[in-house]
């Protein structure tokens, strides 16, 4: 009787796999994508579909060029996920070529030039988005007015040509509104009272953030992500905001406002939790998250950009090797 002997311990496995994790995250973005579409119209959906396909095709191309097998890489779901996360960061109306450029940077430069899945130093989606923020700040700051959402024709027109139809109105996100308002020496209570924040969709953004939280809870329940990074970001941001807010509530947005305006919760649960570019130990994750939170606050308050989440993530990506090094668990017996 001959035996199969090609099995190594452990002979049992948890049955989790990378593709399943990526699918989970894709699934978890569903509520927040839906609410975003609901709020800002078809552009959001268009962005998501286009960015995901772009990233997926670029992944295939990059694998081909690098002489790699297409499987299992093409079905691991990581490339479309990068696309979706990128799209969630973009303004609802973004011309297609900008999305293509961002996808190119995300997949080819941030991911494959570093060696592909698992080896990238930076969060690919944020790397792609940052390129647009730096190179095309005007496009990135241009958010349509909330009421413009239902017009498919205008959306398509802008997507294809990058120019707005004559009657399209420019809006702002609450974070833009706050930054602009504060620059014009208005105080926060005034901005609240005169309806600036309301027009900028403050209430809608609360819903968007709640939807992101729902997706995040799903991921936590499935153990696709751990609690340390989200908790770290929330704590980091809320603490920094609280200190300033307690100091002067007139010019410093409350921690609550900081947490629910802009896509903060999308960042907390979907962007910061990217496993590859974050710290690996539980304590490391907490520190990494807190760093992102604090840096986001710093950039929002003193930076040139209304939302600093992308840059905060990229900066903390750089700190990961250091964090990993100083948060190594103690070996058994070394504790005393």
């Amino acid at each position: 009787m001959s035996l199969l002997s090609n099995s190594r311990a452990p002979h049992q496995h948890s049955q989790r796999n990378v593709a399943q994790m990526m699918r989970d995250v894709l699934l978890a973005t569903f509520p927040v994508s839906t609410i975003l579409c609901w709020t800002y119209g078809w552009g959001v959906l268009l962005n998501i579909l286009f960015a995901a396909s772009c990233c997926w095709l670029l992944e295939a191309a990059a694998l081909k060029i690098r002489g790699r097998r297409l499987q299992p890489w093409l079905t691991d779901g990581s490339a479309p996920l990068t696309g979706v996360l990128l799209a969630l960061a973009l303004p609802p109306l973004t011309p297609w070529w900008l999305i293509a450029i961002a996808s190119l940077f995300a997949i080819v430069f941030a991911k494959h030039l570093y060696g592909g899945l698992g080896y990238n130093l930076f969060n690919p989606a944020m790397a792609g988005y940052a390129v647009l923020l730096i190179s095309f700040p005007a496009y990135m700051a241009w958010w349509p007015e909330l009421s413009a959402r239902s017009n498919i024709n205008d959306t398509l027109h802008y997507f294809l040509y990058g120019t707005a139809a004559a009657d399209a109105l420019s809006g702002a996100t609450p974070l833009d509104a706050i930054q602009t308002g504060l620059k014009q020496m208005q105080t926060l209570p005034e901005l609240l009272a005169n309806g600036t924040l309301e027009t900028a969709g403050n209430a809608q953004w609360v819903w968007i953030n709640l939807a992101a939280i729902a997706g995040g809870l799903f991921l936590l329940m499935r153990r696709t992500i751990t609690w340390q990074i989200p908790a770290g970001v929330i704590l980091g941001l809320a603490l920094s905001a609280s200190i300033a807010w307690i100091g002067d509530a007139a010019v410093n947005p409350s921690p609550w406002l900081q947490l629910v305006s802009g896509g903060t919760m999308i960042g907390v649960f979907f962007i910061a939790t990217d496993p590859v570019s974050s710290a690996s130990s539980p304590q490391g994750k907490l520190i990494y998250g807190a760093g992102i939170g604090a840096l986001t606050y710093v950039i929002r308050t003193w930076g040139a950009y209304p939302d600093g989440f992308a840059f905060a993530v990229l900066l903390m990506n750089l700190a990961v090797p250091l964090i990993d090094r100083y948060t190594r668990p103690k070996l058994y017996g070394q504790v005393q």
């Binding site: 190594r8 990378v18 399943q20 058994y332 017996g333």
Partner: protein, 519 residues
């Protein structure tokens, strides 16, 4: 005293694996009758080697010593599991399938050797005498490490607690559960004997929380015995809570210092099977010639515990139990078991479980992908390693980094592997890393020694350098043999090699000295 006390763990490492041990009380174990031919391996554990004491053609009796521990290794006395004739002795490893072994033809009579007599009134005997007797019974740690029990019972000053490990946490393995349910009194009397040898104050019998029937029977037997020194506790069902150092951490709340021994905490740990074997030898006169083996897997209908003579080929078990379509055999549990190359491989003292599988994996790992740095492997590691960083460090040739990250502390438990979504065979890789590191240490040590020897040459007498060479050889052997073993076991062994007391030397030396046991 009411039921066993539950010790709550303060650690968060490990895995919750379905063990399925709780539901029903186990039926009595099946006796597997001894086959016509037995293969008694001379090397039953990585650190132990035994030397034949018999010749080809010699007639032997059941329980007769047929091999003695080889010098400077942690081998044990081996006894004939049956009466019969020595048909061949294989002394070299000529292929991976044929190992160093003594082959016996069974005469079917089971004529018992004269040496196999119980010791009357063992508690009136000196601890040294009982310890020596335990060595002669070939008793070794049956939890899997096969470390000679007598050496471990060498009373160091300050041993307070004897920890009896009944935490059978690895899936599929059920033999200790059987012992605890069927023969609790054997475990208890073995425990008392070991307490006597050690002069320890107390014995703690630790059993996994979900081994409910084992807990009940053990508690009942303990209540009946009413020895105030012995108590039963239950520990959470987490894998690998039954690892020696992990169990000590759970029970005492502190970890064995890095590079130290359990004795540093005043604890000596022994497996329940070992305790029962001590009892069987001292009180019933049967040396370690059989053991409880769990036989299970999807190629056999019944998952049962069998009493099997050491040296029984797996094929004999398969035919006795009428298992069909066996195409993969795993010796051990599903997390740490090794795959057998052939059904001719025999049961050794270490074989606690045989999984007969029809070829389908239990649950195979997904196709390997690069590490995605998810960090899932970090909190589960009971050795406090960050497996992700260790894996990363192995991409360079600098082993110092891997060592600093704990490569030698890995206990091969497989927890990191189990959770890894990228399907990376971390455990197998860490074993290789360990091997590489030990080899480098060995080279460095050799170089240092030869330099030293050269420099000291004039001052040294021939005997001294011989002695030193012997120590070096022993260490070399230990390194080579143990490269796959855990750091803890290695440390144990090296320490003992370096500080071998006259007592140990007697144990390791030829069996002739045993007649002059200090009684």
């Amino acid at each position: 005293m009411s039921g066993p006390q539950l010790i709550h763990a303060q650690n968060d490492w490990g895995l919750k694996l379905p063990s399925g041990k709780g539901e029903n009380p186990l039926p009595a174990a099946t006796e597997i009758s001894a086959p016509e031919e037995l293969t008694v391996l001379l090397k039953q554990s990585p650190g132990g080697l035994s030397k034949p004491m018999v010749q080809i053609g010699q007639k032997v009796f059941k329980g007769q010593k047929i091999a003695a521990p080889a010098k400077n290794t942690f081998g044990s006395f081996l006894h004939a599991p049956v009466s019969g004739t020595v048909t061949s002795i294989i002394e070299v490893n000529d292929s991976e399938h044929i190992k160093r072994a003594i082959i016996l033809a069974n005469d079917g009579l089971d004529t018992v050797h004269d040496d196999c007599t119980p010791i009357s009134n063992p508690f009136q005997r000196s601890p040294q005498f009982i310890r020596q007797r335990i060595a002669e019974g070939g008793i070794v740690g049956l939890g899997g490490a096969l470390f000679p029990t007598a050496i471990k019972l060498n009373p160091a000053p300050g041993i307070k607690t004897l920890l009896i490990n009944g935490v059978e946490c690895e899936p599929y393995i059920n033999c200790d559960n059987q012992l605890l349910q069927q023969y609790p009194e054997r475990v208890l009397s073995g425990t008392q004997l070991m307490l006597h040898v050690l002069g320890a104050e107390e014995a703690v019998i630790a059993i996994e929380q979900d081994m409910v029937h084992a807990l009940v029977s053990m508690q009942a037997a303990t209540d009946t015995l009413n020895d105030p020194r012995i108590r039963v506790v239950s520990v959470p069902d987490v894998y690998p809570a039954g690892g020696e150092r992990q169990l000590i951490e759970i029970i005492t709340g502190s970890q064995v210092p890095h590079g130290g021994l359990p004795a540093d905490l005043g604890v000596i740990c022994q497996n329940v099977g070992t305790a029962a074997a001590v009892d069987q030898w001292i009180n019933a006169g049967e040396p370690l010639i059989s053991r409880m083996v769990t036989v299970c897997g999807n190629a056999t209908t019944a998952s049962e515990n069998c009493v099997v003579r050491i040296g029984t080929p797996i094929a004999a078990i398969i035919s006795t139990l009428q298992a069909k379509d066996v195409s993969r055999v795993i010796i051990g549990g599903s997390m740490m078991g090794v795959t057998a190359h052939s059904v001719t491989e025999p049961i050794s003292k270490a074989s606690n479980c045989i999984i007969l599988s029809n070829g389908e994996h239990f649950s195979p790992a997904p196709e390997e992908m690069p590490c995605i740095r998810c960090g899932d492997c970090v909190p589960v590691c009971p050795a406090g390693i960050n497996p992700q960083l260790l894996l990363e460090s192995m991409s360079t040739t600098n082993t110092r980094q891997s060592e600093a990250l704990g490569a030698l502390d890995c206990i091969d438990c497989g927890c990191c592997d189990y959770v890894c979504p990228s399907g990376i065979d971390l455990t197998a890789r860490f074993k290789i890393a360990k091997q590489t590191i030990w080899e480098q240490h060995l080279l460095a040590m050799r170089a240092e020694r030869s330099q030293q020897r050269f420099a000291d040459h004039e001052r040294r007498s021939l005997t001294a350098s011989n002695k030193e060479r012997a120590t070096l050889d022993a260490q070399t052997a230990a390194f080579h043999d143990l490269h796959t073993n855990s750091k803890g076991a290695l440390d144990d062994m090296l320490k003992r090699l370096n500080s071998s007391t006259p007592d140990d030397a007697a144990l390791k030396d030829t069996p002739r000295k045993n007649d002059k046991a200090d009684d």
